[in-house]
């Protein structure tokens, strides 16, 4: 890989990192309405996977969607404004954290329903197939979502129709406050096998490994050879949702969290880049600074933006014919 491309991966991961840390901070200050689920610790998954996608490719996302959106090219300013519920947000304040959508980037939406995006991804893949486009859809979903029946249905449908869809399970070990393994039989990536779909496991904290697996799956899909299931093993550093301490007692040990932080996907990748591209070390600092600055700017943008006029609550239910 070209070093510029490597730095770009780093930049996106850092963008997510900085964005989410800022989100945490703002949430603590009571500035963000609604539920907020941050992606800290999982940055390598979204960035690795989306790095092999084109702008015209699609993704479907989850309640924990900020990282997917940023990795697919979303701008942090309208994202932040959306989190604030402002008129200049991606969805004009209608969606919020759990529903960020940018169809011009192929982002078919974060989704508040666990598993809700899975059928949609198959449908987007169908559109590519029917229309003879060589697009690909990446369907992000959690390890908890892997127990929703739509996974079986979508795997089956994608297999028989050879849909160009990559099912990417983010195995972050928890579904809300419950260890996934407690309520999940067997390994998720193996659920692909009976359908004749390749099922692979990757280190979700290693952006290059995710990228490699995604590239293989995406190429396969583009060639018309059908879907792949990738299970990216990772960990979320933060709680399930911000502010959960208020009503949930601890459900993870300090040691567990620390052991994963020692494998922080962002800092590990940074160290690796420092080792492999020592002459570009200063650029990493520049990236950190630039991302920090852009997220700060995003916050200012969001704060300055107006709330939507109340009457807008009544708009956007239906599209006008011929509009």
């Amino acid at each position: 890989m070209l070093s510029d491309a490597l730095l770009h991966l780093y930049r996106l991961m850092m963008r997510i990192r900085v964005f989410e840390e800022k989100v945490q901070e703002l949430h603590k200050l009571g500035r963000l309405p609604g539920f907020v689920h941050v992606y800290l610790g999982e940055e390598a998954v979204a960035v690795g996977a989306c790095s092999v996608l084109r702008r015209t490719d699609h993704i479907t996302s989850t309640h924990r969607g900020h990282g997917h959106c940023i990795a697919k090219g979303a701008d942090v300013a309208p994202m932040m404004a959306e989190l604030f519920g402002k008129a200049d947000g991606y969805c004009k304040g209608k969606g919020g954290s759990m529903h960020i959508i940018d169809t011009s980037l192929g982002i078919l939406g974060a989704n508040g329903i666990v598993g809700g995006g899975i059928p949609m991804a198959a449908g987007a893949g169908l559109a590519d197939t029917v229309l003879g486009r060589d697009g690909v859809t990446v369907c992000f979903f959690g390890d908890g979502a892997a127990n929703q029946g739509v996974l079986l249905e979508a795997l089956n449908l994608s297999a028989i129709w050879k849909l160009p869809v990559v099912y990417l399970c983010e195995s972050n070990h928890y579904m809300e406050f419950t260890p996934t393994a407690d309520l999940t039989a067997g390994r998720i990536y193996r659920r692909a096998e009976p359908f004749g779909i390749p099922g692979v496991e990757v280190d979700g904290n290693d952006v290059l490994e995710v990228r490699r697996a995604a590239a293989e799956a995406v190429d396969r899909a583009r060639r018309g050879e059908g879907p792949t299931l990738i299970e990216a093993v990772t960990y979320r550093f933060a709680g399930h949702s911000e502010g959960e301490e208020a009503f949930v007692s601890a459900y993870r040990t300090e040691e567990e969290v620390e052991s994963w932080k020692a494998r922080d996907p962002v800092t590990c990748f940074r160290e690796r880049l420092l080792a492999e591209l020592p002459d570009r070390a200063s650029e990493l600092d520049d990236i950190d600074d630039a991302e920090q600055a852009s997220v700060e700017a995003a916050v200012r943008f969001a704060e300055a933006a107006p709330f939507p006029p109340p009457g807008q609550a009544l708009e956007h239910v239906f599209a006008e014919a011929g509009a």
Binding site: L126, A154, F318
Partner: protein, 339 residues
Amino acid sequence: MANVYFMQAMHQALAAAMEEDETVVVLGEDVDRGVFGVTRGLIDRFGPNRIRKTPISEATFVGGAVGAAAAGLRPFAHVMFSSFFYVAMDQIANQAARLRYMSGGQVELPIVYFAGTGPSGSAAAQHSENPHSILMHTAGLKVVMPSTPYDAKGLMTAAIRDPNPVIYLADLRLSRLRAAVPAEPYEIPLGSADIKRVGEDVTVVALASLVPPVLEAAAELEEEGVSVEVIDPRSLVPFDWEMVAASVRRTGRLVVADPARRLCGAAGEIIAGVSERVWDSLLARPRRLTWPDVPVPFSPPLEKELDVGAEDVKQAVRDVLDESSRRIPAARGAARGSA
């Protein structure tokens, strides 16, 4: 104009739409043959790339239609029996009906969700639902339910061309209806009701398979000297409040006949909505004719017991007339006259 059956009329509109727009695709179980005939044979004309037989996975092909629409197709999803909407309800109510709104208007979702609906003769509780009121309440879905082959064709064309998810319910009790229908495609705008019979004394709003018995009752009442106006809303979302309200403003009397359960049903809604608009014109309490609040039973006499028939309609019309002649304040009664 050739005589065509109810389902054939929809078939014609769908076929023409597929000719006209190659992004229209059909999804559903056994859609090559098609239990109701609406999609039958299309596979020979349009091939398996556009006529997609699906596995029995309603949640996924109904939700798939959402993703497909967002990515450039105009899916016609054949849900078969409307009871099966419940199997895919998340994808209908949380996804299809929400995505545009949640996105602040970014997405258009031109999808038709088609199903045969209502009792079709001892199909029992899991194949006889009329869930239109549930879908009306959802917000974000248009809902149509025609009563004639002509309307069926025109509404189908409009539904497929509409940029929003449209629930298209074909009342199975009307399958044997046959009528002359123009060969060319035409649109009946969603949201336009139709006066199926002009009258002066009582407005009867009737949905889908209750239109024929209501017309029958109206014809019989004519002989008793009672003039009944029969309105078929055709489209439930959007609803043509104006036409219905205008009629009730003239007649002063309202009966609503809906082949569905009562509690939170469309009949109550139509009464509430019309009352809000023309309260002062009402000469008697509006009547609703609906099923009782029970699942649909299997046995023929039990299924029949749920039905609203021409006799029920006649009785309700007479009741409304009686009540208004007995009770309206003299001044008003004089002004309007009553049968």
